[in-house]
């Protein structure tokens, strides 16, 4: 017998490890709307299997909790069973010996608080409040409801122009989204259950790169109605696009020199090439939309004048003001806001950072954009300072990784303390207070706390502040538009502004800084509701026939990820970083689509929405259902869902 042995997993253990990974992916692909009580029971059963069996509360208590919750689902218990479940779970929390039992019982307690009404519905009415809300996960999670399985299958058949036409039915910016969409559609892709989510954005990129020039559809006959759009970003132009298609006369007012909003003045051209943006905007304007750039509404022309002049008004001014850190020395020379810097870059006024030490404050996507732009503008060293850990950054992971690959330093757990300046008032350094990562907050992110370490001096010639954006609300408030606490415009999910006739609002100025696709979705919803408000019911549809699916290939296969240009080459210019898929890659990747529009629940109900228009009246028959479970845990404002895509 040997004294020590090398630990080797057995075959069974190796397979179980594999199954754990499969389960993780499965949970990631879990469709919203599942009965939370049923899920609580099944999570609990997993926990129960993990108990070591040593202590009573965990070994027996979890089993009894499971029995009681099953009784709620399948039996006819008295409502008092909820107290029994709660008391038992509390005792397990209080007395179990280790985290296996304590945390499992905590899950049950969280559920009892978080979805008590679901428990009660089961007990009192033997029914479930949960209903499947997204038969086609990608479509349901796309704020604009783009027909994703439809265009994926068109790409698979090489019909890229048709794919673009199909996308335009719900989103007039296929190219913009092909380059920079944060692709919420991929989050719960059912293909996760087999191997990995489909690279949806990558396939869209392939489609727009290979579609050629796709002419816009014909407009409906002129209605004689006119709409003014305030703000020519993705949301405003989307509203303008659909309203123009419906036959209304549309005029866009833009404060900046050029159209595009954050797509031009926020997103650097190495992510979204300018010529692509210009071509997409030109295509939208080809519908005959009138544009006034360099006009500040509220100053050059008042809201009231616009209200008099037009039948309807859509406010989509975005969130373009910068937020200040409030630290000492912030007004020193050489301290700039990210918003300001990106705005100049948008108009090709490039700052020169040659040979400089640049320090960026922030951990979001904008912080990464200025970090990577600063590298391209000749900085010697760019340091991104963030007060939490790298994994807590709100920027997309690939953005952070890309910045690091291009030579950026990411200095984490450093909270800005003050900015040091020389006698001429020019910045010389950023002082930070090192942090220690602490307790998890309600949103699930750990809070940084001051560490017992001396402050740190980071030498800097330029400091760029990228800690968030706000909304320019002054002109709005004067004309009677309600502004919420925090500065957002008060508009409901149908983009209407309460107590104001004919004035609609959406996008970042309502939700706070969000994403291009959410602004597009708001613009689409606004177009439908403005059309309805003016007394019309125009249908938006496209005559592209989606290919009938063949049998799906379910053999697990790797996901085709986007490749990027060499870091040392790309960091010297503003050319596009990301490469398009090859024909071979696009064919393989698109064949991984499970066609949830055809297989599964999608073929039965809630599958393809071929046109968006007013749903027929169903008086007395369809009470507004409770908000679907899927959306309930989201505390942040949800972008308006298009009312017509029913």
């Amino acid at each position: 017998m040997s004294r020590l042995e090398v630990k080797m997993p057995g075959q069974a253990q190796a397979v179980v490890e594999q199954l754990y990974r499969n389960m993780e992916r499965r949970i990631a692909a879990s469709p919203p709307g599942l009965c939370p009580v049923d899920m609580a029971l099944n999570f609990l059963n997993l926990c129960q299997a993990q108990t070591c069996g040593k202590c009573v509360p965990c070994r027996i208590g979890l089993a009894q909790l499971s029995n009681m919750i099953r009784e709620v689902l399948d039996g006819e218990p008295d409502i008092s069973i909820l107290h029994r479940i709660e008391n038992t779970a509390q005792v397990i929390v209080d007395t179990a010996d280790c985290a296996i039992g304590i945390d499992a019982a905590n899950l049950v307690l969280m559920g009892l608080k978080g979805f008590r009404d679901d428990y009660e519905e089961h007990i009192l009415h033997h029914r479930c409040l949960g209903t499947l809300k997204n038969p086609v996960p990608c479509v349901a999670l796309c704020p604009a409801g783009v027909d994703i399985p439809g265009y994926i299958s068109l790409v698979n058949e090489g019909r890229c122009a048709d794919a673009v036409r199909l996308i335009r039915k719900d989103n007039p910016f296929p190219t913009a989204c092909a380059y920079i969409c944060e692709h919420p559609c991929e989050a719960r892709c059912r293909r996760n259950m087999v191997d990995d989510a489909l690279n949806i954005r990558g396939l869209k990129r392939y489609a727009v790169d290979h579609a050629g020039d796709v002419p816009q559809p014909k407009k409906a006959p002129a209605t004689g109605k006119s709409v003014a759009i305030v703000g020519g970003g993705p949301g405003g132009l989307s509203a303008a696009y659909y309203l123009a298609l419906m036959g209304h006369r549309v005029t866009v007012y833009e404060q900046q020199k050029q159209l595009g909003g954050m797509m031009r003045y926020g997103i650097p051209s190495y992510r979204f090439p300018r010529e692509k943006l210009d071509a997409e905007i030109a295509s939208i304007l080809s519908l005959g939309i009138e544009v006034h750039t360099g006009v500040k509404v509220g100053q050059d022309v008042t809201f009231d004048q616009l209200k008099d002049q037009y039948d309807c008004l859509y406010i989509s001014i975005g969130a373009h003001t910068d937020k200040k850190t409030g630290i000492q020395g912030e007004d020193s020379q050489g301290v700039v806001s990210a918003v300001e810097m990106l705005r100049h870059i948008g108009d090709d006024e490039m700052p020169d950072f040659t040979g400089q030490n640049v320090v960026v404050i922030g951990g979001g996507n904008v912080a990464m954009d200025v970090t990577r732009s600063a590298i391209r503008l000749g900085a010697d060293k760019v340091t991104c300072v963030y007060r939490r850990r790298q994994e807590d950054m709100t920027a997309q992971r690939e953005e952070v990784e890309g910045a690091i690959a291009e030579g950026a330093e990411v200095l984490t757990l450093q909270a800005p303390l003050k900015i040091e300046a020389d006698e001429t008032g020019h910045v010389t350094a950023l002082w930070t207070q090192p942090q220690i990562i602490g307790e998890i907050d309600k949103a699930g992110r750990p809070r940084p706390n001051t560490a017992s370490v001396e402050p740190l001096r980071i030498p800097a010639d330029t400091v760029i502040v990228a800690i968030g954006q706000g909304i320019e609300s002054r002109g709005l408030e004067e004309s009677g538009i309600k502004i919420q606490r925090g500065g957002n415009v008060a508009a409901n999910t149908s983009t209407q502004i309460p107590d104001m006739e004919g004035v609609f609002a959406g996008g970042d100025c309502v939700t706070g800084p969000a994403t291009v696709i959410r602004a597009i979705a708001a613009g689409k919803a606004a177009a439908a509701n403005i059309d309805e408000y003016m007394g019309f019911n125009h249908e938006i549809k496209v005559d592209v026939k989606v290919p009938t699916p063949r049998c799906t290939d379910l053999r697990p296969r790797g996901r085709v990820n986007a490749t990027e240009r060499d870091a040392c080459e790309r960091k010297c210019d503003f050319q596009c970083i990301e490469c398009s898929m090859t024909d071979e890659e696009a064919a393989q990747e698109s064949s991984r689509c499970l066609r949830c529009d055809h297989f599964g629940y999608g073929i039965f109900k809630g599958g393809r929405v071929e046109k968006w228009k007013r749903s027929r009246s169903m008086a007395g028959n369809c009470p507004p259902p409770r908000a679907p479970l899927s959306w309930r845990p989201l505390k942040r404002p949800v972008s308006p869902s298009p009312t017509c895509a029913s």
Binding site: G33, L34, C35, D38, L73, D74, E121, H125, H126, R127, C128, L129, G130, T131, L132, T548, P549, R550, C551, L554, R555, H598, F599, Y601, I603, F604, K605, R616, S617, M618, A619, G620, N621, C622, P623, P624, P625
Partner: protein, 539 residues
Amino acid sequence: MCVVEIAGTQRLVPACNTAVLEGMDIQTNSPRVRQARKTNLRLILSQHNSNCTTCIRSGFCELQRLSHDLNIHYQPYEVQPERSRVDLSVPIVREASKCIKCMRCVQICDKVQGMNIWDVTGTGSRTTVDVSYNRYLKNTACTFCGQCVTHCPTGALTVRDDTNRVLRALADPSVTTVVQVAPAVRVAWGEVFGTINKNKQAPVGKLVAALRRLGFDYVFDTNFSADLTIMEEGSEFIERFTHRGKYRWPMFTSCCPGWVRFIKTQYSAYTENLSTAKSPQQMFGAVAKSYFAEKMGIDPKKMFVVSVMPCSAKKAESELPTMRDACGDPDVDVVLTTRELVRLFRSDCIVPSDLEEEAFDSPLGTGTGAAVIFGTTGGVMDAALRSAYYLVTGENPDPDAFAEVRGSKPWKEAAFTIPGAGTVRVAVVSGLANTRRLMEAVDSGEADYDFVEVMACPGGCAGGGGQPIHEGVEMASSRGSQLWKLDAKAPIRFSHENPDVQALYRTYLKKPLGERSHHLLHTDHEAWQALPKTDRPGV
């Protein structure tokens, strides 16, 4: 269930959801396919209450047939049917323990009837079918058309069985029992007993004889009151048509209770466009418990009126608080569906082919060809136009002059000129999704009519929710054409020529739209609530 094996494909594929492509090599009975079909059927059966002996659908249940066909005689799985919670206060009854979640009810209600009453509810392995939005059926706009019942493959959806109430009345010697038979029943009841005569029809005379064997004191015909309905509704139309400004247009027929519930809940502003005439069933009840009771010296409180209908919604209609005009009791006491009637015959071992044909009793047993076509789409309009023409011109038109409104097209339009009155633009629609389309067109001004006939069930009453069920076959059209044949052969083809209806007016009602007619034969559609108020919104 319907899986096939395709060469070169790893998994079996669902035949119903896979497009056939050139060059596919498909096996429908491979060993793998046989095994898969049996296993899947056994899984279905493991959640099905298979007490076939006491199931209403035994003998014409698709699941039962399939189980026999696939030679399934044992069940390896534990059987755990869902718990049933049955509500008998409405005519449509769902027994969850028999539901196999095929979702046909959801489909027929969504796509054909456009009402979205049924839905898939719950999630995970507890997913089932129930009333949409977590409501109870009694609190919904359900029209009780019963199309979900006739398309259910098992006994999960049924029409409430009221035969015991009829048997109790028949057993009570102090009660006079009166039965009326709706037009569409006569062309469907015989289907269950096989071919009865060489014309493959069950003559109505045999139906009369069979009803007498059950013990009814008087066997009458709803055709009589269908003719009466034409007299009232036709006169009402002429009155409205000649005083256009006083009324909202178009005028709608009111004989289909599913449609009446539909308009009251979906387009309530149009309720006043309904003809105030009661349906033939309710006119019959009101006349039986007044005129007939008086004539025969029977205490109407001791009279029990049963109607046999092709319809489930008629049960709800007879229970309305507004349908108690003759003596304060319900004018019609019990409504049986064609299927319930057949069950009564079978349990009494009545063999129709053994019976001699008999005639209806008098005086409420006489009907014309114009009445018998009430059972099919276009029939009410055709009959009404025949008599309206007469009422205006004093002359009979060709009975086939209005044939444009016939046929099984779901939405028909026509215009006829009645000399002296003008051109009447009519429409005929059946099926509630079609009806919704028509209403949208009327509401938006795209369509403009004077008179519209609506029947909730596709093809009209012939395809009603109370009719015999045949797996995979829609019978409305063939039954309808039999009704048109009965009309063509009828000795009298105009409602206004029904001698017993004429006698009723002469001796009792005096004239159409008169005071007694107003009391007995017309109703206020606004006087009852179609959607009960609930304490919990949306439930």
